[in-house]
Point group: D3
Chain length 137, copies 6
């Protein structure tokens, strides 16, 4: 079995805010991230699929098709967007790296099911902080 | 003469918008960057000073002092902020990398004048795009 | 158990071509990679071994010996070479990242068996695309 | 389950030397690393915790708290230090990357137990060499 | 004056060979690079333009236009190509990084003249080797 | 004119200490760097030469020869060494990045004079701090 990974990057804004809390508690828990004007990151997304190389093509997955799926499911919806204000998954969920990784999985897994088994999604918020999700089981 | 550089990173949001233009023209010129919900970047700032190493310390500049100046003049004002909404230089100026580099120079140059000659400020918006400013002359 | 990894880089050429297909089908499936003049990459190879640190040396594996094995088994055969034309594994197999990772495993695993358990081989074709192989089981 | 990783960097010195061996054997086994004046590295430490995102905060772990723990347990003890001469774990253990990863785990695991499950510690001695430890089981 | 840089990457093959020399002399001077099967690299190109930010847009140059020019003049002609066999500039000139930088300048400078002053072209053959050309004067 | 750069890396130890000062003053000025057990870095050295590509070889300088010169003049003397204790230039000079860049220039410039004009030497102490020296004039 081979794990094949493709990386993509996008730029987005977010903030951390829990509507059930006072401003003071939001500030205390979330610090500078609670600034509701938002701040942003150059996110790096790594999508890993698992499988055997096809003996005819040598591919676990066609990387051009994988790029198209990432473009359609992630880039067109998240790049140059504000997670809290424009991305439905985060209407009531805080867009931490952890939750962004889960949301990316849920967007990609059904779309990839025809051609590959999604093995992991990793999201770098900065080069220093990243979250990885490998699905439910 | 030695050129000594210190790098720092910060995360911020921005958008591109000219109030004198129609929405249509803003979209046409600025594309996805015209989204007024904002999007963001992990900016990297490189501050370069020029001088001779002090024969007693070996320093062109005390890098701890340089870090403090960058912290006071840039980080405390720009990190986790929205350039258009919270940074005065950009009330009527579009926060492109070019203009952010000039603004960084103007914040740093007077503060550093006592200890070093500022030679260049470089701002990376992403690893693929960066602007450098070396002052007026 | 510790996983210890050493990275190495090499430059090589390759193309994607299936002799059983028409030129048109090769172009359709492999796109620009079907150009038989070849194109190339700076490949990065990561070799990971697993084991316990030796209490006397602190080593899971002697990294100089690991470097020598990588030099002998991979670098001398693949660096500044054309995978399709000069590397026997790819006489009838397409040199995708997936297949290069498997070939690297097969070259390294027997050579390392005396001193360590090979745990994974990762091959970066570019910083954006990489394949990892962890052996049969 | 999410794996969340925070990276930190520190600079330290070390050498490789086994007191039970002759100088000649130390030189033969450890090569340039046996120079007892020491040499150093910019180490990169990656600390990975595993858990479910808290539904209220979106956090697997509060990254500010994780940073504080890394600061208290690792940075304050190892940064700008000489492993052999100043870090107790290495009084009689050679500070290879393998052993540094284990030592980092032992410092971090009890401190993090209240808030998260430590999943892995990775130590880069250089960008080309790194060791990862995932605990006893 | 601002220096604004955009980075792009492409993969290509090349070899070093002087037809006026014997095989032995080519091997002696060019070493492994004389292998006429070719080898390849992930090249990184940095294009730097100089100018004043437009007061209306904040742009020294429209980076989307710059990207289009790089795409048309460089990427479409060099990406996934063999320099010696497919790129006219190198029919009788050895495709060293030095000469590739000059060729990139000559392709880009006329195309950019309408909108910006080209200041420098830098070509990375690997992260360890790069050539920069700033034009004739 | 082309600027051609080759990068090399080495690991070394150093500390900052002025014998003419009290321990207290050394601590105050140099902070953690005054720890006389030393600490270390993975230094990156960039050596830039300037010239015209030779019409026969396409080379500004033979990069293998440049590598040999760097090996002989820098690596063999500095790699896995302690600057303060083992490198003559720093017997009475503090091994800051600034002074290391000047020392590298003085080692390389005479050795390269036969084949190229040295244009710049850049020394990265960490990815965040670097010094560049371009010679006297």
């Amino acid at each position: 079995m081979i794990l094949l990974t493709r990386r993509a990057t996008f730029s987005a804004s977010h903030y951390y805010w829990n509507d059930g809390w006072s401003e003071e508690k939001n500030q205390r828990v979330f610090g500078r991230c609670a600034n509701r004007n938002g701040h942003g990151h150059n996110y790096t997304l790594e999508v890993t699929v698992a499988g055997e190389p096809d003996p005819v093509t040598g591919f676990v997955i066609d990387l051009k098709w994988l790029k198209d799926v990432i473009e359609e499911k992630i880039m067109s919806a998240w790049d140059h967007r504000h997670f809290n204000l424009e991305v439905p998954e985060f209407a009531a969920t805080i867009p931490t790296s952890e939750n962004i990784a889960i949301a990316a999985w849920r967007r990609l897994e059904p779309a990839l099911a025809a051609g590959a088994r999604l093995a992991a999604v990793r999201v770098y918020e900065t080069p220093e902080i990243f979250a990885e999700y490998r699905g439910e089981s």
